[in-house]
């Protein structure tokens, strides 16, 4: 599903990584580990297609409609409510039975009660959960998660654990994380950044 050969990324004089090789088969669950600034986020952004590599090549067998990306930021509008945000994304992704799916996801991530509040009043954890709703809204086949547990309290983390476990077989995952032990039971492979 994802294949990278000799992938290199450079920002001006700073070299992020060089000669990276990656193979992720369909249905795989690959962890990307390493310290901050090592290039985990950059790799995910490359796979998502948000940036172009400075060297090498990368092939991703998923269209934008099949891809879900959890970034560092929640990518939601602060002045809008969860419902409005998800409705917009739902329309753009042509989600079938949009309203039902939004409702279901908000409930599953315990955001239903806050559905009509502006996200500017949300806590870090709530924003992260909303972002997860955004990512999973269109049932993506390739899910890219950048530090999915960041900002989540124990409840939120449990919700996420459950969610990932249930989706394990239906999609391909590439997860950048600080705590690989947490997801070790799901993973089929890992890539370590120095």
């Amino acid at each position: 599903m994802i294949r990278a050969r000799g992938l290199a990324m450079r920002y001006g004089p700073k070299r992020i990584f060089d000669g990276l090789e990656l193979d992720v088969e369909r249905g795989g669950f690959v962890l990307v580990t390493g310290p901050n600034g090592a290039g985990k986020t950059t790799l995910l952004r490359l796979v998502a297609g948000l940036v172009a590599p400075t060297g090498g090549e990368i092939a991703v067998d998923a269209t934008r409609a099949q891809l879900g990306f959890l970034a560092h930021e929640p990518l939601v509008y602060r002045e809008l409510t969860p419902l409005e945000n998800l409705d917009m994304y739902g329309r753009l992704y042509r989600v079938a039975e949009r309203r039902e799916r939004i409702g279901m996801l908000l409930e599953r991530f315990d955001l239903w009660d806050a559905r009509n509040e502006r996200t500017s009043s949300f806590s870090h954890g709530m924003l992260q959960r909303l972002a997860l709703c955004r990512v999973l809204l269109h049932e993506p086949e390739l899910v890219l998660l950048d530090e999915p547990f960041a900002g989540l309290d124990s409840e939120g983390s449990e919700l996420l654990d459950r969610e990932l476990a249930s989706r394990r077989g239906n999609a391909t995952f590439l997860v950048a994380t600080h705590e690989p032990e947490r997801l070790a039971h799901l993973s089929t492979g890992s890539l370590a950044f120095a």
């Binding site: 930021e73 002045e79 809008l80 753009l92 042509r94």
Partner: protein, 213 residues
């Protein structure tokens, strides 16, 4: 095809909603244009005639538009939401199109106040001017939103916007002022229409490259 326009509508509606919630850009534009008109009264020595006033009206419109345009991508930039829009399966040009429509709405609203105000303070307002304003707005918003998207990708951000926008706005000024002050505005209408068609097309066709790599 219908999907494309649905996307445009979704995004335009989102932008209008954002402004409704934020309520900062439009009031600022209204206040700005009103203040500008008052300043023009003091800036026009007696004997300069009403045509000078009309010329200044166009200056006011362009700079009011600039004020609004500096805010069009603020929400996307601050929370990096633009990534979310770019990742969506919709055509990237829909982002430009939707936002340009919303910007057009704001500019038109500002002019709904500005034009009667101008007619009140000065003389020389006529149907040709109003029509020219309408035509010019299209070009201003199409190019302005496009250039605003370019400027937020830079380090200088909003500082770059006037620098990029104003040279491109010169033909609009010519078309607008020409239509307002001369006796044969037809040529200028045609010119504005040409500008609108031409630049809207290249904006639409190349927006993809402004937001992707």
């Amino acid at each position: 095809m219908s999907g494309y326009f649905a996307d445009v509508a979704t995004l335009a509606r989102k932008d209008l909603l954002l402004e409704l919630r934020g309520r900062d850009t439009l009031p600022a534009m209204l206040l700005f244009v009103s203040a500008a008109l008052v300043i023009f009264h003091f800036a026009l020595p007696s004997g300069t005639g009403e045509l000078a006033g009309l010329g200044l009206l166009w200056v006011a419109i362009v700079f009011t538009a600039l004020l609004g345009l500096s805010r069009v991508f603020v929400a996307e930039r601050e929370q990096n939401v633009l990534d979310g829009l770019v990742l969506a399966p919709s055509d990237r040009s829909a982002i430009w199109f939707g936002k340009a429509l919303a910007a057009l709405a704001f500019l038109a609203l500002a002019e709904v106040i500005a034009l009667p105000l101008f007619a009140l303070f000065f003389s020389g307002m006529d149907a040709a001017t109003v029509a020219a304003v309408a035509l010019a707005d299209i070009g201003i918003c199409a190019v302005g939103v496009f250039v605003a998207a370019m400027s937020i990708a830079t380090r200088a951000r909003e500082l770059l916007l006037p620098v990029l926008f104003l040279p491109l706005a010169i033909p609009v000024i010519v078309g607008g002022v020409g239509a307002s002050v001369t006796d044969s505005p037809g040529r200028y209408f045609a010119f504005l229409a040409l500008y609108d068609a031409l630049f809207a097309t290249i904006c639409w066709a190349s927006f993809e490259y402004v937001v992707t790599e």
